[in-house]
């Protein structure tokens, strides 16, 4: 078998990659100093993939929340409780469904081979019938209601619906109490067969392990039925138009401070390569909104906000967006401050000393991110579910150039009016 080794000189790290005959990609990230080992079994299928083509281009539409429902069903094992099987090894298992992927993962100290065997065994088979579907509906209903009781979660949903017109990121990953009622065993099985194929999955193992042995182990643990599942459905790709959907919307909740989420959408292609673009935007956002920013200082000193601004950027193929949020009872004043700040940076540029300071900060952050294998494993896996390399991304932060960052910032905010504001107000403000 052909095993590639990918090295990153800056970080002094490496990993190994192999493609098995079945099409399954196996990645081993050796980390000597850590006691725990982590295995992530990832499927490129998530909350947004509710429409796809199977067979001879037959379009299938599934109810919202089905990928997440399937994740719960995969845990159902005919013989025994999946959690127990791992606990017997002193291991723990969990899974999550994001917009783009479903990931099953376990961590283990003493018996990594056994844990990987158990992980692969339950994900490669699906035990499902109408009864198990009915039973899981009750559990998932409680999960959805738990999220719905979190006002900040509802606010973020509100923003995504305001920002986007038709992209499936508008939908909740877990679906709604109504949408999941349309799920049945047949539909779940269709999705399983369509996406849980070797070519659409990755196995990633982190820790003090031998790469060759692990790759051979994963190879040997594939079932015949799994290896023969060689037709992956084709996902419908969505394009999102430039204008936002709703400029401003208000919801109410049982909170003690009002809150806002402000989103900026950008659908033009990225400038340069993905890693550099991402690093440039994040560095700029840190300078504009971060702990050490003039904006935070001003907002804090005027008593407009009490905690730091939260900010995030997502960069997809045909869609990027930035979300900025904070708790405040002075939403209009904060909003004005944010817009004035962005305008001022566009007009006057950034202070080169601030830029150098943030770069030193990045160097330290790289060191500390290498401290926790748990963090490395989560981030590395997350990047892989988007077909990106975590180590290259980290290195890109070190190499951000001032001029490029300024250019990217101005490019992203060229149409500042194309933003959406979602507001969460205290219940007592309801008229």
């Amino acid at each position: 078998m052909n095993i590639q080794t990918i090295t990153n000189e800056y970080l002094n790290e490496l990993y190994h990659r192999a493609f098995l005959e079945s099409g399954l990609e196996v990645i081993i990230v050796p980390k000597k100093d850590f006691v725990k080992k982590y295995a992530f079994f990832a499927v490129h299928y998530g909350g947004i993939h509710n429409q796809f083509y199977i067979g001879d281009d037959e379009l299938v539409k599934m109810p919202a929340g089905i990928a997440h429902f399937l994740e719960h069903q995969v845990f159902e094992d005919a013989d025994k409780n999946t959690f127990s099987a791992f606990e017997e090894l002193g291991a723990s298992v969990n899974a999550y469904t994001s917009s783009y992927a479903t990931v099953y993962h376990c961590d283990v100290v003493k018996y990594p081979e056994e844990a990987i065997k158990t992980l692969m065994s339950f994900v490669q088979a699906l035990n499902i019938n109408e009864k198990s579907v009915q039973k899981e509906l009750g559990v998932i209903e409680q999960e959805i209601k738990m999220y719905e009781d979190e006002p900040t979660w509802r606010l973020n949903r509100e923003l995504m619906r305001g920002l986007l017109n038709k992209h499936p990121l508008r939908d909740e990953i877990a679906g709604t109490v109504d949408s999941i009622q349309q799920i049945d065993a047949d539909k779940v099985l269709t999705c399983y067969n369509a996406f849980y194929t070797p070519a659409n999955m990755k196995m990633i193992i982190y820790g003090d392990v031998d790469a060759q042995e692990m790759i051979a182990l994963v190879d040997s643990l594939q079932t015949e039925a799994y290896k023969n599942r060689n037709k992956t459905a084709r996902k419908v790709e969505f394009t999102e138009p430039h204008p936002i959907h709703t400029k401003r919307s208000v919801i109410y909740g049982d909170v003690h401070k009002n809150r806002f989420e402000l989103g900026f959408k950008h659908i033009k292609p990225i400038m340069g390569n993905h890693y550099d673009y991402m690093a440039a935007i994040k560095t700029a956002l840190d300078l504009v909104f971060g702990r050490g920013s003039q904006l935070y200082k001003a907002a804090y000193e005027q008593n407009l906000v009490q905690s730091q601004f939260e900010y995030d950027v997502q960069v997809e193929k045909n869609l990027s967006y930035i979300v900025i949020s904070n708790d405040t009872d002075e939403i209009e004043a904060v909003e004005q401050l944010i817009f004035n700040t962005i305008r001022s940076f566009k007009a006057n540029g950034f202070d080169p000393n601030d830029f150098e300071r943030i770069k030193r900060k990045m160097i330290g952050r790289v060191l500390s991110s290498m401290n926790s294998l748990n963090t490395i494993a989560s981030n590395f896996t997350y990047q892989l579910t988007k077909n990106k390399d975590f180590y290259i991304q980290i290195e890109a932060y070190k190499n951000v150039k001032y001029d490029y960052m300024v250019e990217v910032f101005n490019y992203f905010f060229e149409d500042m009016d194309n933003h959406s504001m979602a507001i969460l107000l205290k219940n007592e403000l309801k008229e």
Binding site: G138, K297, E301
Partner: protein, 423 residues
Amino acid sequence: MIKGTMKVKLTEGVTLHIIQSEKFKTILAGIYFKRPLLPVEASYNALLSRIMDHATKTLPSLRAINNELEYLYGSVIVVDTHKYGNNQTIQFKMSFPNEKYLDEVDFYEKPLKILTDIFFDPLIEQGGFKQEIFDQAQATLISEIEMRKDDKMDWAISNCLETMFQDEPYKIHELGTVEWVKAITPQSLYEHLQFLLKEAEIDIIINGDVDDESIVPIVKKWFRLERTSYTPVPRTSNKKEVKAVKYHEEKMQVTQGRLVMGYHYEIEYDDPRYVALFLASAVLGGGGGSKLFIRVREKESLCYTIFARSDKFKSVMLIYAGIDPDNYDKTLALIKEEVKLLQEGDFTEADLAKAKEVIIASFLSISDYQNSFINYYYAQVQFGLPMDIEKKIESIENATKSEVIAASKLLQLDTIAFVTKED
């Protein structure tokens, strides 16, 4: 993975602990001030924890401190207050890169100066913290206390503990109350800081790839405190009389009900039976393979979240479940039945072995995380126990089923708290 630990007394009531571990690329320094948990003082300690990293004499604003931290390769300072049983701590933690990876000499001087300046040399005007900085910190803390209600799980747990310990200081939340916070002035808060520096029990714990010879002199230089006496915090008992089961209900705007059951047990962390008690709570509600998870979630589909956990500092076990409010009676009856079955020994050797494996793995991996590592170490210091992970694992391995049954019989239901929807 641990090269060694060492302990140095710096002055009365101040102990420096160095734990060397090679695998981390950063140094983590934690300074712990310990006090008994008391009404009013709780809010003083909380407010100090919210103001102290906001200005020093040399870095006179939040932005000045944040910019300096960024310049020191993204060093991070976190100040917070925590309740450990009947005591309260203020914890100052700072993480900074190991100088091995930087092109700088004597780097540690800089972060340690900031970390100690925040309490030895804060920005003071007219005998108190600077008014604007004080006002912001006070407002922040008040809204934090008000926002506690927004996390329904935490709120239901607080309701349970407050009812359970209604006649004890333990019912005090580590942030205190809005009234207490409002009564504090910049001057009285500064006086409290002086009081802590004189009287608090202080531990400094440093973890990372450092050697004592280089780090101890730097800590000594910057931790500039000399005292001839202090107020030790005595260990208090967790003894408690459990009478009729108390019930607390609160109606809130929720769609999901939050059920919390508080159990008391008559032994403490350093009792040899504690290991068996800890295992009993793991068999009952430790994870996805536990009795409660399998019965209440997997068989009956009544909830998404359910767990049992034990607080070693207060001899309390809590069971939590997020359920449909209409299923309250059914869920409560099922949980009570599972506790009874546990006490009757209705679990297998395999159930116990499973719980042991999980707990052993978590002990083995404590050293993978720098922060949990120093927190575990500090907890051991609280009980006067050594860093004894191997011994601990041995005692877990040796615990028998009959010991676990005997320990589970110590569980006494004291309080049920329920956060439910409005009518």
